[in-house]
């Protein structure tokens, strides 16, 4: 059974977002890391890059495959988590805490309304 923290919002494509004022932290869900297993490589966007909601902006690779990570919201990347680049297994062990991917300054806070609540995300993953 996947962990779906109640203080986060979710994208259908299995990213979570934690909003704090006008910035937010983004990572992949516990369900996503469990599906991928054995994460061996993470590629993060450059700081300062502007991304649109739904845009592929990071890559996570398991032994078997490479998967794109889509930004749940539009904005500018302000910080990336180099700890997951140095130790990709952190995404498996702590997907919604130490295994975060990047921080983003929101350019359109209204987009948050289109994301899934924890309850809806649980339904989507059959949990």
């Amino acid at each position: 059974m996947s962990n779906v923290p109640s203080d986060l919002k979710y994208a259908k494509s299995h990213e979570w977002i934690r909003v704090s004022g006008d910035t937010a932290t983004v990572g992949i869900t516990d369900h996503a890391q469990a599906e991928l297993t054995d994460i061996v490589f993470v590629e993060l966007p450059a700081t300062g890059r502007k991304v649109k909601a739904g845009e592929a902006c990071a890559v996570v690779e398991s032994v078997k495959t490479a998967s794109d990570i889509y930004s749940p919201v539009s904005g500018e990347i302000t910080e990336v988590n180099t700890a997951v680049v140095d130790n990709p297994a952190l995404v498996n062990s702590a997907p919604d805490t130490g295994g975060w991917f990047y921080k983003i300054k929101l350019s359109n806070a209204a987009e948050l309304g289109a994301l899934l609540s924890p309850e809806d995300y649980k339904k989507q993953i059959g949990g």
């Binding site: 054995d38 490589f41 590629e43 690779e61 490479a66």
Partner: protein
Amino acid sequence: MLNRTPLYAAHQKLGAKLIDFGGWEMPVQYTSITDEHLAVRNAAGIFDISHMGEVTVNGPGAEAFLNSVLTNDIRKLPTGGGQYTLMCNERGGVVDDLYAYRLSVGVYFLIINASRIEADVAWLKAQAAKFKGAEVSLTDASHHYAAVAVQGPRVQEFIDAVIPGASGSVFPVAAVTALKKNQIAGFKFEDHTVFVARTGYSGEDGFEIVGPDISIQRIWDKVLELGKPFGAKPAGLGARDTLRTEVCYPLYGHELDENTTPIEAGVGFFVALDKGEFNGRSVLAEQKANGVKKKLVAFKMTDKSAPPRPHYPIWVNGASVGEVVSGTQSPSLNLGIGMGYVPPASAAPDTKIEIEIRGKRYAAVVVKKPIYKKA
């Protein structure tokens, strides 16, 4: 609707992640590819290989026929012997790679790739129709057999308990573990006969077991039960692929296809040019004498990078010269490894190459095969 093997229910019970593999719904992993890979390297793993095809070739003309369609010299097989071999078209391109066993005089058993069953059987039938020697009969027995591969250094410690007793047919041995590499024998298991060969696709010691559905289901359960104290785990196609990539065993559709010859693929050792005429011989002899235009190499990443994957371009001295055909993160070595085709000038070990990953190039080096060798 995908084909399912007789072990499908067992995979479901174990919580396997299932994928479509050449039209078969197969387990890619149960827990993690890395865990299953390391279980096989260090202890034991069992793979469902029931999707693979089996063809029997019988008759007074069987030996001469097989020698005219396969690259290796089948006359070298004693009863109970097996050999890796390839089947080529007239251009020397590979129709399939396979294992051929001699079960008795004039009775051969071929184990072929799941994705090639239809193509192989059609090819063999067309060749048999043209064959001018003594009588040969061909049977696609793929639907009659299920199969498992039990692989790893500790398999020999429990496999005799799984299939007890001496062999009953093909070749006399006192126990399964008395089989030597590439040998096959028939063993009475409960009420049926199963064939056990000391072969595999992992680079470890192990056995491949072929038999009726009910026997293979029972053997699957017994291996997991009796092998448990030795660290035996179910292993999926994900680990099967990383294991074979580390030891540079070709996989049809990656290293091998109808436009690639065994000489280009580096498996010329299994081409017996001296045995007389066979399909593709003139092309293969010419390539062996005068060289090839592309050559399969193994490589290791030397830059920190994402794992190499099939179809990534290979660069040498600023030019794109070839393509990766297999690539992964090596669980044993914990670095990116792969195989790919390059011009012979760039094929020597220690040649510095680059792999293009999502538009950026990363340094790698050509290494001698196999990439992984047991210490």
